[in-house]
Subunit: 429 residues, 2 copies
Amino acid sequence: MTQLESALKGIVTPEMSAVAADEGHTPEDIRRLVAQGVVVIPANVNHKGLKPRGIGAGLTIKVNANIGTSYDRVNVDEEMDKLQVAVEAGADAFMDLSTGGDIADVRRRLLAASDLPMGTVPIYQAVIEVVQKHGGIVNLTADHLFDVIERQAEEGVDFVTVHCGVTQETLKRLKNQGRETDIVSRGGAFLTTWMLYHKKENPLYEQYDRLLDIARKYDLTLSLGDGLRPGCIADATDRAQVQELIFLGELSDAARQAGVQVMIEGPGHVPLNQIETNIQLEKKLCGGAPFYVLGPLVTDVASGYDHIACAIGGTLAGLAGADFLCYVTPAEHLKLPSVQDVRDGVIASKIAAHAADVARGHPQALARDLAMARARKRLDWDEQIRLSVDPINAAACRRESYPEEEDVCTMCGPYCAIKLVKEYFGEKK
Amino acid sequence: MTQLESALKGIVTPEMSAVAADEGHTPEDIRRLVAQGVVVIPANVNHKGLKPRGIGAGLTIKVNANIGTSYDRVNVDEEMDKLQVAVEAGADAFMDLSTGGDIADVRRRLLAASDLPMGTVPIYQAVIEVVQKHGGIVNLTADHLFDVIERQAEEGVDFVTVHCGVTQETLKRLKNQGRETDIVSRGGAFLTTWMLYHKKENPLYEQYDRLLDIARKYDLTLSLGDGLRPGCIADATDRAQVQELIFLGELSDAARQAGVQVMIEGPGHVPLNQIETNIQLEKKLCGGAPFYVLGPLVTDVASGYDHIACAIGGTLAGLAGADFLCYVTPAEHLKLPSVQDVRDGVIASKIAAHAADVARGHPQALARDLAMARARKRLDWDEQIRLSVDPINAAACRRESYPEEEDVCTMCGPYCAIKLVKEYFGEKK
């Protein structure tokens, strides 16, 4: 049985209990949220050693790190290092997006190397196998695509991005409207190329039941991909994007009716003033399914610092109700991320997730900030370092610039405001 | 005559014309906005070589970089380097917050080294002179403080932070309420120490007319400081903060009546869900005076990455109507910033300012993002690098990871989505 099927039958699974313990909820609370389809616990029945995480309403916001090889850069050890730093920096899940080298081997090594839920985009492997054997994306067959999905599910992958909403109807909306950057999703582009060439419907839409059968068998959580996510500010919240989201809403209903856990992927490049609208639309059109957002990036020009543009958009998205933030690294739009880029990306998204949890009034998040405030008031530097988002970096900053009076820092030295007024004000009443 | 006095008499100054040209407005528009007190042009009559910048309603959001020596770190060359990188990274103004070494000498060298408007916090120099000569902050006199302000004004300083709203009444509100981190503003802490020791009113409040006389003489813009800004999330938007803001509203009225340009400084640590409220309060209580915000920082635990917490808060503040963002560097809460910290801080705040301009629909900001989107569609890498927030860094990223096919990047290589679907979709209709 999937987590959803169990929840609907009133059964509290060990995974639900584990999530409840982490989040400060009762197991029954988690069961109810999973049954409603507003929380998912990506936990493939074949994934040994998984520590389950819950994603969705009422829980802390989770962060995903995308890693994996590319055509131009295949270094499996480096990918293993990226996973390691992502875990250390606090990622709650990761996706292997490998498109270079022995993709299946990379995936198996990554899956075995941590206790995090792991996601993939199976069409990458399917397309690359087809390109290598038959020389072109258009030679992809539906059977081959579903075969790859099943192979990955059998190995223990916990969630898969499937661009089921890229339909002939969606593409018609896109063509009628026109766009600045058309399609920037790789999976979306693969399917579109195939669909326009063959003048056929997307097999992931047309044979959605086949996908649901595989997903139910392994409790593979479907992450319904946004193949038409906007690739620039000008394209945000346009008819093509909203049309796809309407399809994803229908497909999320069908998944839940089949006992399959489902979440929805969201944009992309979105100006700050449209983020709340995007979250409300997803929650309404998709029956409250957990929303997994990429960014959103609040400007197109932050190349080299897209982790910051992502953190800005992610925080407001989180406040508005997004549940799962996919990081973007400083390297986005420029290159495959390095190990350091992965680390910087996870930390920026962890700041966003935490700041949104604070704004949503999550008790655990507020308690951590309050503990930091009190450590500052006490001029307790060890505790300040321990509580910071990256204690290793905070400790290094302090070490490299040590003050004469050790209870302050080199910004203000003896003119430290907190130290000056300490005697005049007591503890908070 | 000050810019405000000229504007009220219907005179368009060269400074107004310069701002108009930069911002795509007519000179008469700028005159009207200055006359209304919703735009300031900090431009001391004695500041030679200044390129005036406008701050306020209808203009692009500006970014300030704080630099300067501290008790523990006095290296004037390093401060000159910080100014240089701040200018290169796009800062629109800077403040010299030096508290170490020969403060007056550092200030004069910094003032001469760029065409940016420069701000200071004169009470720093006054207190440090008193501490050095007389051994304690409590020996500060009102005459000495006003003397320092006048000396700095005469030298050409364009704007000064003056904590005029730290009154006995404000401190009573603070004491009655209690707080987690009391006072975290250095200027606020100096004045509070003096006021509580002497049981006297703040001279900057009691003798505000004296301040206005100096400001009018040199067209020194007053930046009414928030001495009681919240130092942690738990203290945000509390009675002490709002009480001070009410006083600042009254004082901003008085300044404008005296022909003195004025802006208001704001918090501090504020959770994302309270930022819009803070901006609306300032605009309402202070008659639309330009709002100069420090951060706001949306969490207390981002030590080492406070430039990101600042960019998150600054973007939402900008969307809600903030006019002037004071950067926060990664070093905040830990140490005096290095040259690299200053660079990282300015860039993060420039991203915030630009993203907020995009969200506010500013034509120049939208045009830049659109140009980037089109460069991406064309796979035009030179133009993408030129348009990014930090072209030097973007070019370095690309150089260090070069793809086999030179029209793509190493993230996707030949599987580049834009390249794949290019043939199927034309230019936007």
